[in-house]
Amino acid sequence: MQKSTDYKQILLVGNPNVGKSTVFNLLCNKTQKTGNYAGVTVASYSGIYEYKGESVEVVDLPGSYSVYPTSEDEAIFSKFLIDEQQKYAGVVYILEALSIKRGLLLFQQIQDLGIPILLVVNQIDQATRRGITIDIEALSKELGVTVLQSNAKKNEGIEELREEIFQNKFSASEQISFEVPLEQKGLVFKILAETKESNQYKIWTLLSSETYFGNLESVKDQMNNDEVKCLVPKRLQTQETIRRYQNIDKIISKVLFKKPQFKELLTEKLDKVLVHKYWGYLIFGAILLLIFQSVFFLAEYPMNWISDFFLWLSAFANTNLPEGPINSLLANGIIPGLGGIMVFAPQIGILLYFLYLLEDSGYMARVIFLMDRFLRPFGLNGKSIVPLVSGTACAIPAIMSTRNIENVKERLITILVTPFMTCSARLPVYSIIIGLIIPNKYFIGISYKAIALMAMYFLGFFTSLMASLILKKIIKSKGKSFLVMDLPSYKMPLFGYDFKLTLGKVWEFITGAGKIIFLVSIIIWFFSYLGPKQKPDEFVATNVKLDHSYLAKMGKSIEPAIAPLGYDWKMGVGILTSFVAREVFVGTMSTLYSLDDEAPEGKIIDKMRNDKKPNGEPIYSFATGVSILFFYAFAMQCVSTLAVVYRETKSWKWTMAQLLGMSGLAYFASLIVYQFLK
């Protein structure tokens, strides 16, 4: 978080699914994912905008229902809201017109903490359409704050919001809407008197929260006396919530008017089918199938264009640059390396776009509802389905999306098994190996290759479930598992908006992976271009044939370890380099095979297919191919994922257990598969 004093800092706060992230995006003109599913805002994002010469930093906090955290997501929320109180100018609270009641609970808690606040009622048109009228003026009077209306998805009310923020229309309430109950009043006042704190509600929140939050160190000392110890925080919270809702009901009766009968027609009709005990599952299956079909068939055309473009570029560099190391570095090193990975951008884009649309529409919450019962026996929660499905795109955002799983054990298991899901970085490897070893035949209209790829996805999913089952036995349980989840109304996804987000993510992938692959291809090229001196009178390393290069030496030195898996030294180099990231394998192979050839033209896959052992058998035999597939299915080859796992679990033990467990499994599975098929 930036702590610059040049910015006015404001916080965006509200329940999950109220359009907070959309407001954030419009305010800051920055693309950041919003979702119609609790937990999309997985970290506090911040963005900056300028208005009338003033720079404002907006921090988008994860959605929450109250200041008492039940999940990691909400813990981030409470900590930031209370700890950073001195740093921000105020809170912009987003209330959804259709769920005002639930939203006011958190609103009043924040108000009672003495935090300056400004209220925005979002999606008022949705309410109007259902025959609900909200008296904004009365609401403003009842709550004692400035109230704005907005329709974030249509960009209405955003300019007004900027103006109000500019004018500092945040108001801190004088009176407290929740009176501390008589039984605890004495204690609260005792603590108030002994500390410098003046806000009685703040003391109350300390007494009634199970995990200590806030930075009132002086108060903390007071918290150890016996009177405090015999309090039951949970009961205090229940008491508070019920009292607050009574108060909120009174407010609502004054500001909200509706026709006696109103119905969520669309949501009602859709849910008759989408959560149906048969149709619901069939449709979910069909949606998954549709996504994976599109990933492979729709993506084929742009993939061919990209691949042809890089081939052309490499040939162009080769013919137009003077002979020498630079020519070789570009034409055989960097360009094929980059091309090998760019080619997968369309597949990743299509997958992400579908996932965004599903989240945006509100469907994901239904998937959780449908899957909860089936995931529980494995020690997972229904909410684990979202990381698992997202894991088919990338494990990094998937692992971050586990934060809204309340139970610590279920969350840890989900984090540990998500990397088994077939992420998009494995696709390049799978595509190329399947292309090499599976014949181009069709079984009732479905290609063998597509079936093989489906099998790999199933293998990943099956392995995550099995791993969960084992982890369920190992990890000690903390707290009770539960599922209490809002089912939002369906909304038409914003196709254009989600498309923009997808492009952003694909660009991130290209630049992120591109950087690594750029470096790796230079290093590989360097070590393969040069080799140990051949004649004793030469002092420096010289340009040598690939087979005699430093790289070949390294690869050959690990050959005893990988030969039983059916790999040659080139694959060894590929596996070594792909411990940085899986997709590097393809870039490495591209570079290696480009270097091996006199002319760099021709597709990598053909070169790999034509690569023969000395006895004339193809190097990429069926057994070797399957062995590689198993290795990549199980091995933990992604530095970024490991970093995220460590950040989320804060445990070296589990991070290392994941790395060693997955990679060990990969080695032995490949060994068995190869020896069996050989």
Binding site: R102, K234, R235, D486
Partner: protein, 67 residues
């Protein structure tokens, strides 16, 4: 159709989220669906017709009366 009248005595095991989400005493509700094999319940409740999913285990904490 039913009405919430209170919570079980061992309310300490009850997730607070139930109350925070608005399943309060005097609230009317309707169980619309249940996922197969005694999966989660799909409940519509209150004047706002909010929808919520919760498991049977959590639902057992809530004392209700038929309407």
């Amino acid at each position: 159709m039913g009405k919430i009248i209170g919570y079980e005595n061992d309310d300490l095991k009850m997730p607070n989220k139930i109350i925070e989400m608005g399943l309060l005493p005097e609230t009317c509700f309707k169980i619309l669906y249940q996922a197969p094999f005694k999966g989660p319940l799909y409940i519509e409740f209150g004047d706002e017709k909010s929808r919520i999913a919760l498991r049977e285990e959590e639902a057992k904490f809530i004392i209700v009366e038929k309407m």
